[in-house]
């Protein structure tokens, strides 16, 4: 087939990841109203989440620009965009931590209802994915500084990019299916 092993492997893995997130989304959808009398979708703060979703979406742009710079051997610019991407990822994660805190104070407790469990575990796993992505971005940043990543090794940036974009499109789905639609349908 003559394609690169690593990229093929990454895509196979991402194909599998759809089923992973799909499972949690399924549980969440089934448990939308299983709030055990506690807090439900009404705690969502759509404007706030919209902003952090937007930040994550835009991090895909900087990611693809980093890759583009790398394909042209421009490591300096690549590093810049990588940092920008990681920064936006951190903003997103920070937003999530903040959001969890607010929800928790408003009474959405993981152990209180199936709805709460499903919400926290689904978005939490997404957060873990973002976190891993940030780790990879920072690593490639450092590696390119110490010369471990060479200008011709843009495949590495591309792989991290694939993962990053994947995490982004999963959030595109989560934002719509977990936040917006229930907000409209249930309330």
């Amino acid at each position: 087939m003559g394609v690169d092993h690593r990229k093929l492997g990454m895509w196979a893995f991402l194909g599998s990841e759809f089923l992973f997130f799909g499972g949690f989304v399924t549980a969440y959808l089934l448990y939308l109203e299983s709030t055990a009398g506690g807090v439900g979708v009404e705690v969502f703060d759509i404007p706030f989440t919209s902003i952090s979703s937007f930040v994550l979406l835009m991090s895909s742009l900087t990611m693809v620009l980093a890759h583009h710079a790398h394909t042209r051997g421009d490591l300096r610019r690549m590093r810049l965009w990588i940092l920008a991407t990681a920064g936006q990822g951190m903003v997103f994660l920070g937003g999530q931590v903040y959001e969890f805190n607010v929800f928790y104070r408003e009474g959405l407790v993981l152990t209180d209802s199936p709805f709460a469990s499903a919400f926290y575990v689904l978005t939490g796993f997404h957060g873990v994915h973002v976190f891993i992505g940030i780790l990879m971005l920072l690593s490639i940043f450092v590696f390119s500084l110490i010369g471990k990543i060479k200008p011709n090794q843009h495949l590495k940036t591309e792989m991290i990019g694939l993962y990053w974009h994947f995490v982004d499109i999963i959030w595109v789905v989560i934002f719509t299916v977990v936040y917006l639609i229930p907000e409209i349908a249930v309330l």
């Binding site: 087939m1 003559g2 394609v3 690169d4 092993h5 690593r6 093929l8 492997g9 196979a12 893995f13 194909g15 599998s16 990841e17 759809f18 089923l19 992973f20 799909g22 499972g23 949690f24 399924t26 549980a27 089934l30 448990y31 109203e33 299983s34 709030t35 055990a36 993981l110 152990t111 209180d112 209802s113 199936p114 709805f115 709460a116 469990s117 499903a118 575990v121 796993f125 780790l135 690593s139 590696f143 471990k148 060479k150 011709n152 090794q153 843009h154 495949l155």
Partner: protein, 639 residues
């Protein structure tokens, strides 16, 4: 030849040992890893077998109290988990490892270090699961882990949730690895329709793993959250739905049973033609049937839930899909039989086990079809009739096929033949013991014996007791038979007859290589022009259209001239082993909800990963520098 191509500096250097313990624990050679899988499986098989011995001893007579209900429940749970996750699946992985690269004409798998990683995670996952026996009791919620019983602390299912996820990581990594290997690393000319059936079945199996593992990972994470943190996923009191567990489990669980059978089907598809001295009957149909089984296998999961809380429409739909799966399976059965038809059969041990496979699997398959008759499934479900079904397909099917494979490829791996006489003793006692053990279960199940009962209720009557006694006697035969097998293995390794490169007059590429296969597999990567390439190098039609052996020497590869050329093989590495040791702190941390342990485990694995990334690279590694990479395999041929 395959030694390191990178200088070693300091701790970052890569190990070089080519023999001894360190060669094994640092190896990235797919053949060594395959052997390690095999040996580990053997140990777990004896553990699982010993557990089944406890089960059968307890059920030998009615109302026995050899072991307490508590122990019994742990034992049957661990028996199921062991046989499924620590025996049949990894034994298939052992064959993938050893054979797939050889059969497609490659020098290794796509990601050699990841391959070592898979093995170590499997080993440590197994040890982790078994450690539960010493830490307050093994899981006792059944291998299906039905919630909410499983989320009750008394079932000890935290070890199950974490342990199976660890094993899942191993399988997922292996699945990605083999998919890439098969898609990407085939020798020039090895098109899809020239691939050996075993490689095809490996491909299908690994796709099944790729898509079936995530649902159970999800379910296990939820279970873990429920047991350890107190989440409410399956808690009916607060509105959780226990049936969700069943859906997620069987979404994995049913493809899983085909994950266990397809490799064995691949193996007999290689052995039957060799033993019959004919090509496989209807190659294309066998391949497509295998793929169809894999595909349809995703759409039948709820047939394990026919008596659960699902409605008539779902029951009907899943009854139909379930029945339908008999069609592709039947295609395979008949094609195998007609492979033998008109051949000249040689009954060496691998052939005997393969014929045993076809025969015994059919019995299990037919009882499977009777399960799909939903109104009557309500009588069969959770009785020994089901236990009979799945042992016929798993033991009579998967295990017979895999054992056939052991006898068949043993000469390739060791260079020695296994003793034929002992092999035949093994086969006949195995066949007898197997049928004696599981045959009567059909009847005792229909007569009302439920499964997973710590005592055999006396009220079921003397007939059921008689059947149970027969089953227990069967295990005695099986134990004897297994010891014969073990003895044969050890003796043949030590003092077996030399095998030569091609003892069976076989058909596929692995037999081109010397036995045992050197670490670089092929001196020159073969160019493939036929299905059953090796056979076509040995035989040709003469002028009269008769098939005759071509003179020796023609089996040399076309593009020789590789002598003295440097073949780059992946270097050994410590890191897969070092990194995976982190599953212990992580695993125990998750079971006991200790954030320190979790932190240590995660940190350990991350550091291990950096070690892995930073260690000096060699050509042929999974991480080789970009410009050194040239596409191999089929691509070169296809263009």
């Amino acid at each position: 030849m395959a030694s390191s191509t990178v200088e070693t500096k300091g701790f970052k250097g890569r190990p070089k040992g080519e023999s001894g313990l360190s060669a094994w624990i640092t190896t990235t050679d797919h053949k060594k890893i395959g052997i390690m899988y095999f040996v580990t499986v053997l140990v777990f098989f004896f553990l699982g077998g010993a557990e089944s011995g406890v089960i059968r001893a307890q059920l030998a007579q009615a109302e026995m109290d050899l072991v307490t209900a508590e122990i019994y429940n742990q034992v049957f749970t661990m028996h199921g988990i062991t046989m499924v996750f620590l025996v049949v699946m990894p034994l298939s992985a052992a064959f993938f490892n050893y054979l797939v690269p050889l059969m497609i004409g490659a020098r290794d798998v796509a990601f050699p270090r990841l391959n070592a990683f898979s093995y170590w995670v499997y080993l440590f996952g197994g040890i982790f699961l078994y450690s539960s026996f010493f830490l307050g009791g093994a899981p006792s919620g059944g291998w299906t882990g039905y919630a909410p019983l499983a989320s009750d602390a008394v079932s000890n299912m935290a070890f199950y949730a974490v342990g199976l996820n660890i094993l899942g990581v191993s399988s997922l990594a292996a699945a990605v690895n083999f998919i890439v290997t098969i898609l990407n690393m085939r020798a020039p000319g090895m098109t899809f329709m020239r691939m050996p059936v075993f490689v095809w079945m490996s491909l299908v199996t690994n796709f099944l793993l790729l898509f079936a593992l995530p649902p159970i990972a999800v379910a296990l994470f939820m279970l873990n959250a429920d047991t350890v943190v107190g989440a409410q996923f399956f808690e009916p009191a607060s509105g959780g739905d226990p049936i969700l567990w069943q859906h997620l489990f069987w979404l994995f669980g049913h493809p899983e049973v085909y994950i266990m059978i397809l490799p064995a089907m691949g193996i007999v598809s290689e052995i039957l033609p060799t033993g019959s001295r004919k090509p496989l009957f209807g190659y294309a149909a066998v391949v497509f049937a295998g793929a169809a089984i894999g595909f349809i296998g995703f759409g039948v999961w709820a047939h394990h839930m026919f008596t659960s809380a699902i409605g008539p429409v779902a029951r009907s739909a899943f009854a139909l899909t379930t029945m339908f799966i008999a069609v592709p399976t039947g295609i395979k059965i008949f094609n195998w039989v007609f492979t033998m038809w008109g051949g000249k059969l040689r009954f060496h041990t691998p052939m005997l086990f393969s014929i045993g496979f076809v025969s015994m699997f059919t019995i299990g398959g037919l009882s499977g079809v009777t399960h799909a008759i939903v109104p009557h499934n309500a009588q069969q479900h959770d009785t020994y009739y089901v236990v009979a079904h799945f042992h016929y397909v798993l033991f009579g099917g998967a295990l017979f096929g895999l054992i056939a494979g052991i006898y068949y490829w043993f000469p390739k791996v060791t260079g020695k033949l296994m003793d034929e006489k002992l092999g035949k003793v093994h086969f006949w006692t195995w066949l007898l013991g197997f049928n004696l053990t599981f045959g009567p279960m059909h009847m005792s199940g229909l007569l009302g014996q439920p499964r997973r009962t710590a005592v055999l209720p006396g009220e079921l009557g003397g007939t059921v007791e008689l059947y149970n006694l027969l089953s227990t006697l069967g295990v005695v035969v099986l134990i004897g038979s297994a010891l014969v097998f073990l003895f044969n293995l050890i003796r043949s390794i030590k003092a077996g007859q030399a095998a030569g490169d091609d003892p069976w007059d076989a058909r596929t590429l692995e037999w081109i290589t010397p036995s045992p296969t050197p670490s670089h597999n092929f001196d020159a990567i073969p160019t493939v022009t036929h299905r059953d390439e090796f056979w076509h190098r040995k035989y040709a039609e003469d002028d009269a259209g008769k098939v005759v052996r071509v003179p020796a020497g023609a089996s040399e590869d076309h593009d020789t001239d590789h002598e003295g050329e440097h073949i780059h093989m992946p270097d050994p590495s410590y890191w897969p082993l070092v990194q995976t040791l982190g599953v212990f702190p992580l695993g125990y941390g998750l079971v006991y909800l200790n954030f320190w342990l979790i932190g240590i485990g995660v940190l350990w694995m991350v550091i291990g990963l950096y070690g892995w990334i930073i260690e000096p690279l060699a050509e042929g590694d999974d991480d080789e520098p970009e410009d050194a990479h040239t596409p191999t395999g089929a691509a070169a041929a296809a263009h």
